[in-house]
Amino acid sequence: MAGIIVYVLSKDGQFNKNSLGALSQASKLAGELGGEASAIVVGESFSDDALSTLGAHGAAKVYRVNGPEGTSQPAVDALAKVITDNGISYALFGGGLLGLEIGAGLTARLGWGITAEATGIKVDGGKLVVERPVLQDSAIVDVGYTGDGGVIVGRLNSFEPDASIGAAGAIEDVTVDFNDYSLRAELVTRGEQRGADVNIEDADILVAGGRGLGEAANFSLADDLAGSLGGAVAATRAVVDAGWFPYAGQIGQTGKTVAPKLYLALGISGAIQHKVGMQASENVVAINKDPNAPIFEFSDLGVVGDLHKIAPKLAEAIKAKKGA
């Protein structure tokens, strides 16, 4: 039976929204394929009650595996066993870092093909075909699988959770003998919030700063501009990783998803992992000195120039305009 299994990521018993979206998507596709959607969780304490949410989102069956949470390889072991024992054909991930790692491990283990960054999935001739943007979204390819099955890792926010599907959600406990090497990566701490707690999700106007700011102190340019506009300041992963800005203010794949009225980018290249977190913004203005920066592909107003020259004068001009 051409079933689809979805790995559901969680922390402290909370299921990841993108995993739930993938589950709802799998349920719809499985219907067309003539199979079932199932979910798998790997962790230490999932109550029957908590897992009922997964049924609501489309899981006909939920495989519960007791094992380490937050590293990828134990989940690869668990998925490989459940897929093989139950003759499942596809593994779907809602996206993100762990989804990529687990999906890639599974590819090697099962000899399956993998498609990352999936934005759409359809059924064609009894098989799944995946839509995937390539080369900085300049083209979209349809990818098919030639072997027995396939791994699909979704692009963030590509699949909407639907809690009204109401599938059976029968729970099956599975015991997995983890590989020795799977246990040689050991999580010491998980989900540490670095830096101050800033709120970027409620702001109508965001001024986002990237590596083009040059150094941490230059975030003052973003602060001034945000101040003049009455907005908040956000950032890319590159500068958060560098310690220039708090993690709570990061937009993108492993940060926040935002949809302000205005998103103004200072020195941001516009990598896909950043774009997925801000593409629903109503108006996008970008200042970048590189005319080839991908961000200009999705800007309403692009400014090719040096932010150090433009941003301070822009803040002044906005203040003057508002004062007038």
Binding site: W112, G305, A317
Partner: protein, 264 residues
């Protein structure tokens, strides 16, 4: 210990990348360069050595056509002691599965204690090769690592995942992909550039490392590109070029834009 660094040749950043409609593969005819993300992996290897660990050899490994030897020269100028190039007509058109399998076979023959690689290839954008290779080699792995400390045979690693920063301990041998925030790769000295071509290089065909021809290339790949479509049409935005030449005019235009859209 021995460190292997996976490096890839990619179209240069300045080249407009496109798919060849006939082969449905990336058009690799233009200028090429070492994948910029891989320079961070080489730098990480060099820093492990400089940090006092006994690193006997840093070997750069690539799978790619003849021209990819330029990427290996660059890797050698940045600190690799030796390099291995897996090149074979049978490899053309390999997908993630086939590339990961072929690289794992090549690495097996090297028996490294640590495999380092970049966070992503600039052209493929798959973020997956590290975990594929690790599973074949039966080694633990972690991707997107931005801090790495080695103590004996234990690595303490940090990276940002979905919920914030994770700290993970991994015992060697292991496969680690590094994020681009881990370090600032140094520029090679003129001497290092001149010396790079003299460093030893092994060129291998698939038979040399026991790769099954049926598992690589287009025939061995597990995915196939069925169609190439343009992205959904969207209204192109306004672009102010050479804004530095007229900062006041630019600022005026941005303010007018914000005003038109009722944002100020």
């Amino acid at each position: 210990m021995k460190i292997a660094v996976l490096v890839k040749e990619v179209p240069d950043a300045a080249v407009e990348k496109r798919l060849d409609p006939n082969t449905k593969r990336i058009d690799r005819s233009g200028e090429k360069n070492l994948n910029p993300f891989d320079t961070h992996a080489i730098e990480a290897a060099v820093q492990i050595r400089e940090g006092g660990a006994q690193v006997d050899e840093i070997v750069a490994v690539t799978m790619g056509p003849e021209s990819a030897s330029n990427a290996l020269n660059k890797a050698a100028s940045l600190g690799a002691d030796r390099s291995v190039q897996l090149t074979d007509d049978a490899l053309a058109g390999s997908d993630v599965w086939a590339t990961g399998y072929a690289l794992a076979k090549t690495l097996e023959a090297e028996a490294p204690d640590l495999v380092l690689l970049g966070q992503q290839s600039d052209d493929g954008e798959n973020y997956t090769i590290g975990a594929v290779v690790a599973d074949h080699l039966k080694m633990p792995s972690l991707t997107q690592v931005i801090d790495l400390k080695l103590d004996g045979d234990t690595l303490t690693l940090e990276r940002q995942a979905e919920y914030g920063y994770d700290t993970v301990k991994v015992t060697l041998p292991a496969v680690i992909s590094v994020g681009d925030a881990i370090n600032e790769p140094r520029y090679p000295s003129l001497k290092a550039i001149m010396g790079a071509k003299k460093k030893p290089r092994d060129t291998k065909a698939i038979g040399d490392v026991g790769i099954d021809a049926g598992e690589v290339g287009e025939a061995g790949s597990k995915t196939t590109v069925l169609a190439i479509n343009p992205p959904p049409a969207k209204e192109s935005g306004e672009l102010i070029e050479n804004a530095d030449d007229d900062v006041d005019g630019t600022v005026e235009r941005i303010v007018a834009f914000l005003d038109e859209r009722k944002l100020i």
